[in-house]
Amino acid sequence: MVLVGTTKGAFVFTSDASRKKWRMDGPHFPGESVYSVAYDNRGGRTRILMGTQSSHFGGTIRMTDDFGKNWVGPERQAVRFPEGSGLSLAGVWQIMPGRAEEPDTLWCGVEPACLFESRDGGESWEPVKGLLEHEHRPRWQPGGGGLCLHTIVVDPRDRKKMGIAISTAGFYRTDDGGTSWRPRNDGVRAVFLPNKYPEFGQCVHKVAHHPAKPERLFLQNHWGLYRSDDWGDSWTDIANGVPSDFGFAMVTNPNDADTVYIIPLQSDQFRIVPEAKLRVYRTRDAGASWEPLANGLPQENAFECVLRDGMAADALDPAGIYFGTRGGKLYGSATEGESWTEMADALPPICCVKAAVV
């Protein structure tokens, strides 16, 4: 199953294990933007969650336990900033199921930047005070997409440790279950600031890791491609052989902790794939080298852009890799990127893609 959120609703694609023919269902929530989708199969559930946003009437998280036949969810806006905070929800950027041992725990990242926790499977949400009241908050600045908490990295082995990324604040980590959060951006460049290596303020676009090796993080920055081997304490540049180290999307291969996929973009001023050739880049040695994957992708006049949550992987063997473009094209590979097929060619602009085996 591939879940696709767009600026005009969401689509659900399903196939058998061969992943050759896909059936499309949707749009769900036509007219609303869907910047976050998730599938949660813990605790015997088959639950899809989507962060939906009406440009007029605000946003909420909606859920279905029957793959979209019936959507449920609180009529009230379940993700709410507390009275007196001065903050109002502008959108849900990420929904992340928690650890397997805590099947009722989910996390969501929102704009304005904050982390919320649900302990009842997504019915109700509470802000994480350690971030809501963080001393750096007054100095966080919105990026082009707003001041959003867009990435959540959970340590499957240690319930007290997790990381988040905010544009534009950088990467923060907690070691005490969310009570305190410290910036972990040592070595990550901020090209747009006079001080290129500040403690925080970086525009981190995406962080990915493999659950079997949670301490090793990969980071796609607003200019810069990095790896950390110590849960973000330090970062080293791994832009070895990519046409550009600017980009958004980044995903690990569930079958191999050394394999990561990215889609470089020309520059911050021209957020289009380099040379108008749509290419996914893959490393199979944790960033020591990168190779282009273009078989089946358009190699001329492809003025495409893939956003930070626009790429996903499934856990079959070989893994399926999927991505959607702002031009509304959805591509999939059932061969870990060796070849690609077009799954849809005229969706609304694609905001997010997630994949799951059901």
Partner: protein, 93 residues
């Protein structure tokens, strides 16, 4: 005589299908009227007001023919017979 609140069609799923709500409770301002509605239809007012109690950016609230943005906002006075109209802004795409 009560205050009436006209609801756009897009929000009638949150009013049990009713297009015009009647507020019988005493209210002096638009905010009072919306608070009275929030007590019985909170899902409706969630879509008109943010969690900080402000009118959403792309929702307009009129008293008679005038947007409350050009009056006194939620403090705009109402009286018996006033018609409050909630309208989604023309923004969008």
């Amino acid at each position: 005589m009560a205050v009436s609140v006209v609801v756009p069609r897009a929000l009638t799923p949150y009013t049990r299908g009713v297009g015009t709500l009647v507020v019988e409770e005493p209210c002096a301002t638009v905010g009072d009227a919306l608070a009275a509605i929030a007590a019985r239809l909170p899902a409706l007012t969630d879509r008109v007001l943010t969690e900080q109690g402000e009118i959403r950016r792309h929702v307009n609230v009129f008293v008679g023919d005038e947007s409350v943005r050009f009056l006194d906002g939620l403090a705009t006075r109402v009286e018996a017979g006033t018609i409050i109209t909630i309208v989604p802004a023309v923004s969008g795409g």
